[in-house]
Subunit: 210 residues, 2 copies
DNA sequence: CCATTAAATGACTATTATTCATTTAATGGA
DNA sequence: TCCATTAAATGAATAATAGTCATTTAATGG
């Protein structure tokens, strides 16, 4: 019965179309200022239809991160060639993190808004939330693995890989938040990349076995 | 003309009263779920009156941070006894940062929501925004000064004090964001203090001259 | 051709932030 | 003491949207 399948495909496609339109609107307006009305109009659908595909405006918003996580994965994957030393891989990873931040700002923003809890958990269905969750954990795993390798190879000192990975993550997200803030307020030249390099050099150097 | 002055005092007191009530409401409901209606009722005022004192709900919210910054100052001041070594002062500062985070969560949350830009700049008057601004900079200055002292005393290696201070700030806020996230999602035991200590030890050790 | 079902619609409801014309009440001069 | 003036407060009305749901549309397959 090909009809059945076609229907499913159409639903998937419509969902994708909505996400694509929504992405544009969220980029130009942000979560709060974007309206379901506008998204519906641009998608040539009625408002009600959006709710057949997404539980709420917030769910539509965070659903975008699934595409983002895919990309993030690719960035990290490319950065972590197992042939390279743990140090080199770490540096690549930082580079990748930075590239993702600059090239996919909306996705990055969504990711951090989930992290910071500024989006009400109630407004998102469990299915979507769980998927996002899993993705965040997978991303963290990249870092954990590199550090683990560094320790095994005697390149890094014997630290807790998970704690260290979280520290890196925290440092990177913290740096971007701070430099964003400085930028917004024109508080002098805080070049985000320079700051990230500086900060992660501090941490990395400490990790390296003498 | 004592009347004139009394009026001014009364306005100041009313403003304070509103802030106090609002604090309780924001703590229990958060920014979004709190309503001006509820705050007005609890303050035994009409909704309209709130707008004579604050431009918007957001401005009422961020105005609370002014009290918070005061406290933050005190925490930092106590931590940075100039008699102590730069290393010791840094450790105290981290401790103070952590204490502030745990003991004054609402203030901390407001501070980071300003930092992260999740509050629309448009909804806040310039006067309030500028004040908050200045406070953030003063807090940063504490860290800058300690690092500067560390370098002067030969305790720390020769780094850019401002960049380093920002890195610490970024690390601390990043760590709290991450551990909050882990906590919320029950992703295993990520003790925030332990993580902060671990991460800042990594950075601090790197700073220390051999 | 029709009954059934899935999908889409958009008028309607509900919730709040914000405004503003009106009321209240204090002040100080006549 | 009374009144004009002014500041402060009020709350009904407005505006903007998220989200709902009874109704319509249109495809399907017997």
């Amino acid at each position: 019965m090909g009809t059945q399948q076609r229907k499913i495909n159409e639903k998937i496609k419509r969902r994708k179309d909505i996400l694509e339109v929504a992405k544009g609107v969220f980029i130009s307006k942000g979560l709060e200022a974007a309206t379901m009305e506008e998204i519906a109009n641009k998608a040539e659908l009625s408002k009600g239809t959006l709710y057949l595909y997404f539980k709420s405006k917030e769910e539509l918003y965070v659903s975008l991160v699934e595409e983002g996580a895919q990309l993030f994965h690719e960035f990290f994957k490319r950065a972590t060639n197992p042939v390279l030393s743990a140090t080199k891989q770490t540096l690549n990873l930082i580079e990748a993190f930075y590239s993702f931040y600059t090239e996919h700002r909306l996705y990055y923003t969504i990711l951090t808004s989930i992290q910071s809890g500024s989006i009400d958990r109630e407004k998102i269905s469990d299915a979507v939330y769980d998927r996002i969750h899993g993705m965040a954990m997978e991303l963290l795993e990249y870092i954990v693995n590199i550090i683990r390798k560094g320790i095994t190879d005697g390149e890094f000192i014997d630290v807790d890989p998970r704690e260290t990975a979280l520290s890196f993550w925290a440092l990177a997200t913290g740096v971007f938040a701070v430099s964003d803030f400085m930028q917004r307020n024109e508080l002098g030249e805080v070049k985000d990349k320079k700051l990230l390099d500086f900060a992660s050099d501090l941490m990395l150097a400490r990790l390296q076995a003498v």
